[in-house]
């Protein structure tokens, strides 16, 4: 550590080159922190569970070969029975939308019918008596609707008086004891519903929405000319189930099938732009780390070439190779450290801008420390070769004139 004083002195006397490096490290640090943070935020979105057993479920949309309400309902029920009887299918339900689908409904929600009470929006699902089992939701309080309680509806037209809610929803209204919501009345779009059950997790259709964890599931068989079906395959039979269901349905003349997709495909589809952004950010990070490596490497070589004579003199006066090596490494660490300190300030300022303009959450301190550690290590790696070169300078150099 007795190197510290001469190092600082040297840096102070020849400021320009180290100053550039400090600035470069500061800018790099700022970008790295924010890029890493963006990646982590977006990746969290990608892996956020929807509440469903995604690995055994696929969905599709199909039409009803009739336009008479009575007949439509009968046809849909027949379709569901046929699908359920397939060997590879465990269960099947008809819903209005499902998590990660491209389209969904929401309802204005509150504990009372007046405007003051109705203050949040909630994801709104409809499903028949098989919906909870098919999705694989965990019912943590109350009970699921029975067959008799499910109403048939064409385009949401029906009068339902009960609902299952997600735990997130229950906690939103009863933060102290979410179980208290059982049996109470909640209002959806000004209509009263009695809460019959609570499921542990069921997310809305819109990841990143403020009300993403709050959903209700209403016992309705939602039928339209483009109704949506969720199929739960037996474990390991997902692909087989897809084939069998498509084959079965296509036997009906005039059948339309659309968007036969399992959850893996739906996730890929839903998060295309996030995945692309993440890939791009990884490129940015790789580029930056390379650039920092090169920058530090170039600077270090330059200073050492400049000081060959001094180094020779020091060696002649009895400094060991280790001493020279240590000196170079310490000098680099100090420059990098100053750069990082400056970088922390810039990163925080930049992040404040991001938070203000792009509604992002502020960066946690832990990231700053981690990225700082990475940059320090990269710096030390980059300086290894030039420092080694310096250590190899022969003491005899000091005796020559040039």
């Amino acid at each position: 550590m007795n190197d510290l004083k001469p190092i600082l002195n040297t840096l102070w006397r020849a400021k320009s080159a180290p100053l550039l490096l400090i600035l470069q490290i500061a800018v790099t640090f700022t970008i790295l922190v924010n890029a890493v943070y963006l990646i982590i935020q977006k990746e969290a979105l990608l892996i956020e569970p929807s509440g469903l057993d995604e690995d055994v479920i696929f969905t599709f949309q199909t039409n009803v070969q009739s336009s008479e309400p009575e007949e439509m309902i009968a046809l849909v029920k027949q379709d569901l029975r046929d699908i359920r009887s397939l060997s590879s299918v465990e269960n099947v339900t008809v819903m209005n939308a499902f998590p990660l689908s491209d389209w969904g409904s929401y309802a204005l929600t509150g504990l009372g019918p007046t405007d003051e009470d109705m203050n949040i929006y909630t994801g709104y699902y409809t499903g028949d008596e098989h919906a909870i089992d098919t999705m694989g939701l965990e019912l943590i309080a109350g009970e699921a609707p029975t067959e008799g309680e499910v109403q048939d509806s064409i385009d949401f037209s029906a009068n339902v008086t009960q609902a299952i809610v997600s735990k997130g929803f229950a906690e939103r209204f009863y933060p102290d004891d979410w179980r208290a919501i059982l049996g109470t009345t909640v209002y959806l779009n000004y209509e009263p519903y009695i809460v019959k059950g609570v499921v542990k997790e069921l997310k809305s259709v819109w990841p990143g929405w403020y009300s993403h964890a709050n959903t209700v599931l209403v016992p309705l068989r939602h039928i339209s000319n483009n109704y949506k079906v969720l199929v739960r395959a037996r474990a390991g039979d997902l692909e087989l189930a897809k084939l069998q269901v498509v084959e079965l349905l296509m036997k009906t003349p005039g059948r339309h099938l659309d968007k036969v997709m399992d959850y893996q495909q739906m996730r890929e589809d839903k998060f295309k732009s996030e995945t692309a952004a993440i890939k791009t950010l990884y490129w940015v990070i790789v580029g930056l780390v390379l650039l920092t490596l090169l920058g530090i490497f170039g600077q270090a070589r330059f200073t050492i070439v400049k000081r060959r004579k001094q180094i020779g003199t020091r060696r002649a006066l009895g400094a060991s190779r280790g001493d020279i090596l240590r000196y170079c490494m310490t000098e680099n660490a100090i420059v990098t450290f100053i750069g990082i300190v400056l970088g922390v300030i810039c990163a925080l300022l930049a992040n404040v801008q991001l938070v203000n303009h792009f509604d992002m959450a502020p960066v946690p301190v832990i990231y700053l420390l981690q990225v700082a550690g990475v940059i320090l290590i990269v710096g030390q790696l980059a300086v290894c070769q030039p420092a080694w070169m310096a250590a190899r300078v022969s003491p005899a150099l000091a005796t020559r004139s040039v």
């Binding site: 790099t28 924010n34 336009s67 483009n226 295309k272 330059f302 792009f358």
Partner: protein, 444 residues
């Protein structure tokens, strides 16, 4: 002129230290390429899709929402629905107060040509529009023309295909007069449109802004007459419960589901059209509808892109990141220049000793910096093209048209490289020009 000589010197000097030169040019190129790639994508995403008339084509929005509740609140301000009810659409179409007007709704149906079997039918998406739509949005026709006003009113079973569908079903031949099945309806083809990819696509709202247009067009009234509503896929919202599920109920309800566009002869007529809309709202109010405060507005294309948040904030984050990356690259390059020019101290000392002024030295190194900038710019351009290819692969869900550099952007790339490298070269140049002749000569 010494300039030519200086450039020659610069070239020789670059060749003398190949590794350092490659590093310098490479870092500039990297930074420039990153900046230009992100800028290209952002600029293309937020570009004007209809530049010749984006100030006189308007999205009409009416305050038809519930008496009890605003449609939406954004930052404390009431937002009105971006779509209209069927009643209002029909009334406005009936009045036809603009130069051109069209509804726009999407639906989907199975489509096959007459020669294909049911099994070969494909699920395709439709633009349900009025015949003015094509002239309003400058849709180019390969064969045929839009349907007539009469067909428009009656909702005749007519269809216009895009080029791709026509290639698939009719091998690219002129198919006007042929028929295709839309579900179970037999529709006559009246036109085929040429390649057309408006970016961003405004008429179906923000959800479809960066998609390519739907392949088929049918008269809006045809969709309504035959109940071809895709309620599980189109946007629709109601503030009052629907009695039963019939089409009649839905059409007579206050549910909003139709985007409505109008083209005026000149942007200056905006006020007149707005007066007409306000008068219409007053008339409806006296009939017991439109219970809310009248906030009805018309947004021209440029405004509706902002209003509907088509321009994603994320694009700008990327541009800022890339710009910061460029700064890091330039700082790196500046450090390398300092090294380089320091190494030429002896040469400078000699030139100063034999009578070169500081300006001469600055000029010489200035030329070297410009040369590095130009080379970096061209390499950056090449990298940017390569990068855009990769970007097009990564962002495969976006139309490829977003990933093409326009000529102004190409020129800007090189200019940016030269300007920024020269700016960042000022300090190293200044330092080099300060070299004392004596100090350097001593050691020679």
């Amino acid at each position: 002129m010494l300039i030519g000589y200086y450039f020659k010197l610069a070239w020789l000097s670059l060749k003398k230290t190949p590794l350092l030169s490659v590093l310098m040019i490479g870092t500039i190129a990297m930074g420039i390429a990153a900046t230009m790639i992100t800028s290209t994508v952002s600029i293309m995403m937020a570009q004007d899709p209809l530049p010749e008339k984006s100030d006189r084509v308007f999205s009409v929005r009416l305050s038809s929402w519930s008496p009890d509740k605003a449609y939406q609140l954004a930052k404390g301000e009431e937002v009105i629905p971006p779509m209209l009810t069927y009643m209002d659409t029909m009334n406005l179409l009936e009045d036809s107060k603009g130069l051109r007007q069209s509804a726009a709704v999407m639906y989907k149906s199975m489509v096959r040509s007459e020669s294909q079997t049911d099994k070969e039918a494909k699920m395709l998406r439709f633009n349900s529009v009025n015949n003015d739509f094509f002239a309003m949005f400058n849709v180019p026709f390969l064969y045929g023309a839009p349907w007539s006003d009469l067909a428009d009113r009656e909702g005749a079973a007519l269809v216009i295909l895009d080029r791709q569908t026509n290639d698939r079903l009719f091998s690219g031949a002129n198919s006007v007069g042929q028929h295709v099945f839309i579900g179970k309806h037999l529709a006559r083809i009246v036109g085929v449109i040429d390649s057309w990819s408006p970016l961003p696509q405004v008429f179906h709202g923000p959800h479809h802004a960066h998609n390519l247009p739907f392949p088929l067009f049918t008269p809006f009234q045809f969709q309504v007459n035959n109940n071809l509503l895709s309620k599980g896929e189109m946007g629709w919202q109601c503030w009052a419960p629907l009695g039963d599920g019939t089409l009649e109920t839905f059409l007579a309800s206050e549910c909003v589901w139709i985007r409505y566009w109008v083209e005026l002869e000149a942007a200056t007529q905006r006020g007149d059209y707005m007066d007409y809309i306000n008068a219409y709202v007053e008339e409806q109010k006296s009939g017991g509808r439109f219970a809310r405060e009248n906030l009805s507005k018309i947004f021209n294309i440029t405004e509706s892109l902002i209003e509907d948040h088509v321009v994603e904030d994320d694009d700008f984050i990327a541009v800022w990141l890339a710009a910061a990356f460029l700064v890091a690259c330039l700082l790196n390059c500046m450090g390398l220049m300092l090294i380089k020019f320091y190494g030429k101290g002896a040469e400078v000392g000699l030139r100063r000793a034999v009578g070169a002024s500081k300006q001469h030295i600055a000029m010489q190194f200035g030329c070297e910096t410009v040369l590095i900038g130009v080379l970096g710019g061209f390499l950056g351009l090449a990298l940017a093209q390569l990068g855009l290819r990769i970007t097009a692969d990564i962002f495969a869900h976006l139309p490829a048209g977003l990933m093409q550099m326009s000529l102004p952007l190409v020129v800007m790339t090189v200019v940016l490289a030269v300007l920024s490298s020269t700016l960042f070269g000022l300090w190293p140049i200044y330092r080099a020009a300060q070299t004392q002749p004596s100090a350097q000569l001593k050691s020679l």
